[in-house]
């Protein structure tokens, strides 16, 4: 017989939060929700309250001075989770502003205790706490009294059979505040502002009894309330890989499949790098269309720099028929975890096996500046997450033609991918021609040919090699000199 206490975990009703918390909110825990003004503390609290409060487990929401209760009710009801019917039933609001204004913290504490005793709530929220600091600093009680008050409240809250939340514009996180020690959970909300962009981030600094996910997790607040984007690895790990028909995914360009050694190995990530107009998106469309032809579905994540540009008609048709899912997020300030979640949600919905990300440059631009600085790391997380979901990924990368060096992506992303195809322009006999080569296919034989190709009505056609030309990658190939008579060579060396 086990003597361990069983800790029930409550599902918070906030998408992504339970994952980040490490499996929900422990029942009867005492939690702090802290953050700067406007960071979403009250919204998060209300969302949790409306999701968790029931007739058997009613909630009391104490409003201290912070936000006038009328305004709070006015703005909170804009969110979908708000339920006016619940008020005075499973949810009670209690204003403590008058008691707080007196500066007499004992009286505030007594009011809270009285209400809790009278109604035995299962959930208690006290919002917000910074205001209590001010009230007591203005009064004669001094800061010690406040610390004592918060500590007393914390201990009381722990003793109630209730899951409790102290919401507050909190003091500095480095502050050795006693309440941080008392609290079982510490949820810190932040806003990271860089240039003209703002990204909301959440950190679970502490959650007793379970392993929460460390680090900063981005979240968004919209009409539905708070949505937390759990790390890509967690999101992808929870899904089973799709069924893979055949070991290799065909590209829709038979000659290219030959060059790849029989198609792209399943689960690989492929980088298609080339200059503007070289047909990267056309190759990507062919890849998705071939999937559909083989009875698979795909997802296109379009981060185009010209959103109004007409898309390939074949692709438009596939999207319209629901065989290819389109992610065309125009949300500003995307985080990598949000994008991964968007893609994986679509992958699961369609049971997709192929994903195209077109293009990396557009993708980088749509990320919030704070993530652009470590774009390579973000990209690695994306590729890893999609790889663990078992999909085959094709990414395009716009590459300025530089004829003095051979590069595959402006991000040093080449090492992240399992396969690379490069496209280039060359000049031959006063004409601009295109060549294509398979640079790398991890753990697989592949062709090393540099082949001409053209783009026609029916897509990409791979042509011949140019064996009598050399210096193709320099952009201006020259005709190889005919082998010279050996005698002249010897003579030349003699000089």
């Amino acid at each position: 017989m086990t003597s361990k206490a069983t800790i029930n975990r409550l599902a918070t009703g906030v998408p992504g939060l339970d994952e980040v918390l490490g499996g929900g909110l422990p029942e009867f825990s005492f939690n702090l929700i802290a953050g700067t003004p406007g960071s979403g503390k009250t919204t998060l609290s209300h969302q949790i309250m409306f999701a968790l409060a029931t007739a058997e487990r009613p909630a009391i929401y104490f409003t201290v001075l912070g936000e006038p209760p009328l305004k709070m009710l006015r703005y909170q009801q804009q969110f979908d989770y708000f339920d006016a019917e619940a008020i005075n039933q499973r949810v009670r609001f209690v204003s403590l502003s008058e008691d707080t204004m007196t500066g007499d913290l004992d009286r505030v504490l007594k009011r809270i205790v009285d209400e809790v005793t009278a109604h035995s709530p299962g959930l208690v929220f006290v919002d917000s706490f910074r205001s209590v600091v001010f009230a007591s600093e203005n009064g004669s009680n001094g800061k010690t009294s406040l610390q004592l008050f918060v500590q007393q409240l914390g201990m009381l809250m722990t003793s109630w059979q209730a899951t409790t939340f102290l919401v507050g514009e909190y003091f500095n996180e480095t502050d050795a505040n006693p309440v941080f020690t008392v609290a079982d959970g510490l949820i810190w909300l932040r806003q990271s502002v860089q240039r003209n962009s703002m990204v909301r981030k959440m950190e679970i600094m502490k959650m007793r009894g379970q392993s929460s996910l460390p680090g900063l997790h981005t979240f968004r607040i919209d009409k539905a309330g708070v949505r937390v984007f759990a790390p890509a690895r967690v999101v992808s790990a929870s899904g089973a890989g799709p069924h893979l028909p055949g070991a290799r995914a065909l590209m829709g360009v038979p000659a290219l499949d030959e060059m790849l050694g029989g198609g792209l190995p399943r689960g690989y990530s492929l980088l298609v790098a080339g200059p503007s107009g070289s047909g990267k998106s056309i190759l990507a469309s062919a890849f998705l269309a071939e999937g559909v032809r083989c009875g698979e579905t795909g997802v296109l994540a379009a981060f185009e720099q010209h959103p109004n540009r007409a898309r390939n008609p074949v692709l438009v048709d596939l999207i319209a028929r629901g065989q290819v899912g389109l992610i065309d997020s125009r949300e500003p300030d995307l985080s990598i975890d949000e994008i991964v979640l968007l893609i994986l949600t679509e992958v699961r919905r369609l049971k997709a096996t192929r994903v195209v990300l077109d293009s990396l440059s557009g993708f980088e631009l749509s990320l919030a500046p704070t993530f652009q600085t470590d774009f390579r790391e973000s990209l690695l997380r994306l590729v890893t997450a999609l790889a663990s979901a078992g999909v085959t990924l094709l990414m395009t990368s716009e590459l300025e033609d530089r004829y003095t060096d051979l590069r595959f992506s402006p991000y040093g992303a080449a090492f992240l991918t399992d396969a690379i195809i490069v496209q280039r322009y060359i000049e031959v006999e006063s004409r601009l021609l295109r060549v294509i080569a398979v640079v790398k296919v991890r753990a697989s034989d592949h062709s090393s040919d540099l082949r001409l190709y053209s783009i026609g009505e029916d897509g990409i056609r791979i042509g011949e090699m140019l064996p009598e030309q050399e210096g193709l990658l320099g952009g201006r190939p020259t005709r190889k000199p005919r082998p010279a008579p050996p005698a002249r060579d010897v003579e030349a060396e003699g000089h």
Partner: protein, 144 residues
């Protein structure tokens, strides 16, 4: 659930259920103040004394446009209103005028609150007052 700035649902008539048709101004004044105190009680815990006082003073000010004798509060005050002042001013009118003024005042108060938190929530918050007044005809739950 968006906030509705104006609502068209009829105001339950708490007054009619509490006083007889031939009630005196005194009786009407007493009923109005009683209703007011019940509303105060329902709202106090949620929005605080000062919040209710501010709303009530504003309602008095707005109602005074049609009923100048209602000019007893002062706008902007966040101190609690003296119910006896309201009772006295009501009792000085004739019965019909007092009833009209009182109803206008409640209507104003309700519209003000509804403009802030929406009609469904307003009705939700004040439901206990209607329930107590309505007696035989319970208030319909129209919010769902």
């Amino acid at each position: 659930m968006p906030v509705e700035s104006h609502q068209s649902r009829p105001w339950p008539a708490p007054l009619a259920d509490r006083v007889a048709g031939d009630a005196s101004a005194e009786q009407i004044a007493g009923a109005i103040v009683a209703i007011w105190q019940e509303m105060d009680q329902s709202l106090n815990p949620i929005i605080g004394h000062r919040g209710v006082a501010a709303l009530f003073n504003r309602s008095l000010h707005l109602s005074a446009a049609a009923y100048p004798w209602l000019t007893i509060g002062h706008q902007g005050a966040t101190t609690a209103i003296d119910p006896s002042a309201l009772q006295a001013v009501l009792a000085r009118q004739d019965a019909a005028e007092a009833a009209r003024g009182g109803i206008a005042l409640f209507q104003q108060f309700r519209e003000l609150l509804a403009s802030l938190v929406g009609a469904p929530l307003t009705d939700r918050l004040l439901r206990s007052v209607w329930a107590r007044s309505a007696g035989a005809s319970p208030v319909q739950d129209t919010t769902s």
